[in-house]
Amino acid sequence: MSQSLEAYLVLSVLLFGIGTFGFLAKRNAIAMLMSIELMLNAVNLSIIAFGAFTPELAAQASTIALFVIAVAAGEATVGLAIVIAIYRIRRTPLVDEYASMKE
């Protein structure tokens, strides 16, 4: 374990950046959900890092991180369900095909 907070934060920013890029750039809905998970985990990492380096925040940081994991799990479930439902109708996982709400 590194002794430097910055190292964790840099890693967290990198992960978040990759997640964001993936979300914006990938056309596959499943891949986009994965990118979201990556962003959530990047945020989780920074929260835990703050908690570990600041003893007063340790308890709250763990609680928030657990919440985020739980919410992420729920989000993944609902997201996947929606994607599968759309997939059944449209026969494609590519989000650019899902533009019929425009009109």
Partner: protein
């Protein structure tokens, strides 16, 4: 002499004014009943009349007869008391709004009593007469419910003590008049006449309403009696003149004075009982009543008073000159009504208020009788109204003829009939008060009155018969429900003047009404000199009777009486003698082209203005409103393209926004 404004009296410290006492509960209930009965009659007949079969008039007539009984008792009680009475009560506060407190209150004094007698008695006579006259109409129930509505409105008008209530009643009589003129709405002419009367009245009513607001602004009260107190000292003379002028325009509209006189002759398209009740005896007197009721307001505006006299005198001679040549029997009477109303306004204008109300009463009964008589004539000749297609009727419809003759003589001013006394006091008092021009023109009009009434008599009742041969055998005297009202109305036409107009110069009606007009007379500094029967007043009577007799004589000479022959060739040679006489004859027949003038001004020219206003409305006002909508729509149409429907575009937007916010936060935090 001219009218002068007495500034001392304006401070309100003149002689004692008639004080208002609270009505006893019996009086209050009686006054409410007088109003409630016709209102109930209107509602019941209007709602249930269709199911009441052949006699839908039962409720309506019962309501009016009971109201007449109560009204007469109240009126006689007021008129016969030693001290002049004035009592009133407030039913409730109609509009409680800060400084504006309008009470729904009633007032009863001798002026109300005099009007009450005219309205209720002629009203009941007309109701009874209508049973016979409207017998063949399918919508009798509608007719009688409208008549009841009119009675309610008119009685409210004369009993109300607040300017705003008077205005409401003013509009209600206008509405019932509109409904009754257009009673035969399936025919074109009554429909147009109803619309015309309503529109002309509306124009005048606007001015009336503004005048009422003016009184409220100056005095801070809507109560008629309270408004007198401060009015005379409330503002600059020209402001008072203006307010009185606005009120006068309203009164002139309802009473059909020049230039609003055009609606009344057309109103004759309504059923004849309506012409008798509304357009001769009661509603058209509302303007005269209003000016008399608010006499202190008008007395505080002497310039307007002179204008009232001038308009009245002008209308009198204008209408009389038109009446000379009309062919329709009801139109002659209508123009005669205008002319007599002109007399009343002239009397009001010179400050002879008592004479004006006296003439109102006498003329009301006389002209009511004349109109009901003309209805009986029209009934006899199966609906014909053109006098050129009548003649020689006097033996065939004797009751109608004799009552008509009495009324014609009364209207012409032959003693001792009712209108002689009243017309003589109008003319005499204008002369005494220094308005010689009113007297001179009034005397000329008196001669014309005698002439056109006996032209009408000659053409209708005497000479050779010009009745359609097909109708001739069917000529019959009217049913009893029509002749009895004629006979009953003949009684006041004969005796009213003798009962309340004597002794001359100290008459009963003077005692009745003098206390009411005292404040106004004081404001105008009017002092009536001692009455001299064997001096100037007697001479004036002789003059007015002489001119009336002259007019009647010429009428009889030209158009015949009883069995004597009419000189129609002479008439023709007189009217056709040269270009001037031809011009006057056609101009009079065409009512001095006032209808054409109105057509030109308000239809041709006014129509152009209205079109211009419509252009502005359509192009500018609607353009702005529609423009806002169009612009919004097109902006939305254009920017909807940024909504691509691709979820990643939105996500990019969110991400950029997030970056932007973060950047901003870092800049700010530094």
């Amino acid at each position: 002499m001219d009218l002068t404004f007495n500034a001392e009296a304006a401070t309100g410290h003149g002689a004692e004014t008639l004080s208002l006492t609270g009505a006893s509960s019996e009086q209050a209930i009686a006054m409410l009943l007088i109003l409630a009965l016709p209102l109930a009659g209107f509602l019941l007949t209007g709602l249930l009349g269709r199911r009441m079969g052949e006699r839908p008039w039962i409720i309506a007539i019962a309501a009016i007869l009971i109201a007449t009984g109560i009204g007469t008792m109240l009126a006689l009680g007021a008129l016969s008391s030693e001290e002049p009475v004035r009592y009133g009560f407030t039913l409730y506060t109609w509009i409680p709004a800060g400084d504006l407190q309008v009470e729904f209150g009633f007032l009863f004094d001798n002026l109300t009593a005099a009007m009450m007698i005219v309205v209720t008695w002629i009203g009941s006579m007309v109701h009874i007469y209508s049973i016979g006259y409207m017998a063949h109409d399918d919508a009798k129930w509608r007719f009688f419910s409208y008549l009841n509505l009119f009675m309610f409105s008119m009685l409210l008008l004369i009993m109300a003590d607040s300017l705003l209530v008077i205005f409401a009643a003013w509009e209600l009589v206008g509405l019932s008049s509109y409904l009754l003129i257009g009673f035969w709405y399936k025919r074109r002419a009554p429909k147009l006449a109803a619309k015309k009367s309503f529109l002309v009245n509306r124009v005048a009513d606007q001015s009336f309403l503004i005048g009422i607001m003016g009184v409220f602004l100056l005095t801070g009260t809507m109560n008629v009696l309270d408004s007198f107190v401060g009015f005379a000292s409330s503002a600059e003379p020209w402001v008072r003149d203006l307010v009185a002028l606005l009120l006068f325009v309203g009164a002139a509209g309802k009473s059909a004075q020049f230039p609003f006189h055009v609606w009344l002759p057309d109103a004759m398209e309504g059923p004849t009982p309506v012409s008798a009740l509304i357009h001769a005896a009661t509603m058209v007197n509302a303007g005269v009543y209003f000016i008399a009721r608010t006499s202190p307001i008008f007395a505080s505006a002497p310039e307007t008073m002179v204008l009232v006299a001038a308009i009245g005198t002008f209308t009198a001679i204008l209408a009389a000159s038109i009446a000379l040549t009309q062919k329709d029997i009801k139109r002659v009477l209508a123009y005669s009504t205008l002319s007599q109303l002109g007399y009343m306004f002239a009397a009001l204008g010179v400050g002879a208020f008592v004479a004006a109300i006296f003439h109102l009463m006498a003329h009301g009964f006389t002209k009511g009788l004349l109109f009901l008589g003309s209805g009986s004539v029209i009934h006899a000749v199966s609906g014909e109204q053109d006098m050129n297609r009548m003649g020689a009727l006097w033996r065939k419809i004797p009751i109608t003829h004799w009552t008509f003759l009495i009324a014609a003589l009364s209207l012409a001013g032959i003693p001792p009939l009712a209108a002689f006394f009243s017309k003589d006091s109008v003319l005499g008092e204008s002369f005494i008060l220094g308005f010689t021009w009113v007297f001179v023109i009034g005397a000329i009009v008196a001669a014309m009155t005698g002439f056109y009434m006996f032209r009408l008599m000659g053409k209708t009742f005497y000479g050779k018969s010009h009745v359609d041969p097909g109708v001739e055998p069917a000529i019959h005297e009217s049913p009893r429900s029509m002749t009895v009202p004629l006979l009953l109305l003949a009684i006041p036409t004969i005796f009213l003047g003798m009962v309340i107009g004597l002794p001359l110069g100290d008459s009963t009606i003077l005692h009745w009404l003098e206390p009411i007009f005292l404040p106004a007379e004081e404001l105008l500094a009017i002092q009536f000199p001692e009455y001299e029967l064997f001096g100037v007043d007697g001479a004036l009577i002789i003059v007015s009777v002489a001119v009336a007799a002259l007019g009647i004589g010429v009428g009889i000479w030209l158009f015949g009486i009883f069995n004597s022959r009419a000189r129609l060739e002479t008439v023709e040679s007189l009217t056709d003698r040269n270009r001037v006489s031809r011009f006057f004859y056609t101009a009079s027949q065409n009512k001095w082209y006032f209808d054409d003038l109105n057509h030109l001004v308000f239809y041709r020219f006014g129509g152009k203005v209205a079109n211009g206003v419509m252009w502005f409305d359509v192009k500018v006002v609607d353009g702005v409103v529609n423009g806002v909508g169009t612009i919004t729509q097109s902006v939305g149409d254009n920017i909807r393209h940024i909504q691509t429907g691709h979820v990643q575009n939105y996500a990019l937007g969110i991400a950029l926004g997030l970056v932007g916010m973060a950047a901003l936060f870092m800049l700010m935090a530094r």
